[in-house]
Amino acid sequence: MTCSPFDLKDYLFGELNAEEKGAVERHLSSCAVCQDEVAALDATRSAILCMREEEPPRRIAFVSDKVFEPRWWQKLFSSGPQLGFASAAMLALAIIFHAAYVPAAAPALPAAQLDQAAIQAEVSKRVAVAVEKAAVEIEARQAEKLMQVVNARLAQSDRRYEMDLRTVADVLERMNKRTANVRRTAFEGGADLQ
């Protein structure tokens, strides 16, 4: 129990109105016992906040339910590399279609037609290879970038966590020393009286 006009925990959690808060703060300015109590409560709160959050063992598996899976066209339009690949494939098809069905300016000899068919086949093959290669490269670059960002954030989070814990450890050490001093003083005072 403290001598504060209002509950110090209400003060700590912002439950007092302006007038009550002012009364507590005026009291704290001249009462070391209540100051220590507020410091101890605040250190306790800080220590609780320093508890690290644990990672769940597995992600919550919600999309595995087929009823909730996105449709094929939703999946396609939500993925950049896939969309790029699809666009390139459509362009390739358009080129091939145009090459295959554009009417010839003059009757072609059978030999020329054979050459054209071979050329078209070669073009289709090269386009397919190039598009697939481009999609793989894009995905790899995106994955690398994501890992860099994640690693940087993790390192920053670890540093902050370490600093917070050191601050709390310092406060608790000071409180321990004060408690030990109070006990020693009380013991010596009792011995003197005997």
Partner: protein, 186 residues
């Protein structure tokens, strides 16, 4: 915090229109916090994982019943609280005592500076000494940052009861953490 609330409100509106991606994003935002809240209550990772899955299934099924999307957080935690207590009642119906509460108090001894990791472990150990109601009050107020009125909704009890549990728990934690020592580890 305001920015996050606006985004959650948009996601909830879309999820209500059967947008699965929107609900998946909500899940990915809240699953770690819900998991850790449940873990502190049931103290078992697999149980907490299973409960978390159940919580989000129920949330998806009942999302249209949420009248005010800005109250999504306390509403979700209310589901989590109910799921946790259902499990606790099934597994251990009678006693509130935790194993840690049976340990004797550590006698004060030579003190030394605590390492940061020891502080974190001391806090976790001190929390286990509390009753589950007190532990839950501490987690919701201090760790998750809910207001007393929101906690009253989550826990289904008056604000005065919530405060009483929390303040008693804080006194116990304060005494435990200021007197804890690590003997023989100099």
């Amino acid at each position: 915090m305001i920015f996050r609330e606006v985004e959650d409100r948009d996601l909830i509106a879309q999820a209500r229109r059967d947008n699965v991606e929107a609900f998946n994003l909500l899940v990915s935002r809240w699953e770690k916090r819900i998991f850790n809240y449940l873990l502190r209550l049931v103290k078992n990772r697999e149980d907490a994982q299973d409960l978390a899955q159940d919580v989000f299934v129920k949330a998806h099924q009942n999302l249209r019943k949420l009248e005010d999307p800005s109250r999504f957080a306390p509403w979700l935690y209310r589901i989590a609280h109910n799921e946790a207590y259902s499990m606790l009642r099934k597994n251990r119906p009678e006693t509130d005592l935790d194993d840690a509460q049976q340990e004797p108090w550590l006698e004060p001894g030579p003190t030394r500076r605590m390492l940061p990791i020891e502080v974190s472990l001391a806090v976790e150990r001190a929390l286990k000494r509390l009753s589950k109601e007190q532990r839950e009050a501490v987690i919701l107020k201090v760790y998750q940052g809910f207001k007393f009125e929101e906690m009253s909704q989550i826990l289904g009890c008056p604000v005065s009861t919530v405060k009483s549990r929390l303040y008693t728990a804080l006194d116990l934690l304060k005494d435990t953490l200021t007197s804890v020592e690590m003997r023989g580890k100099e």
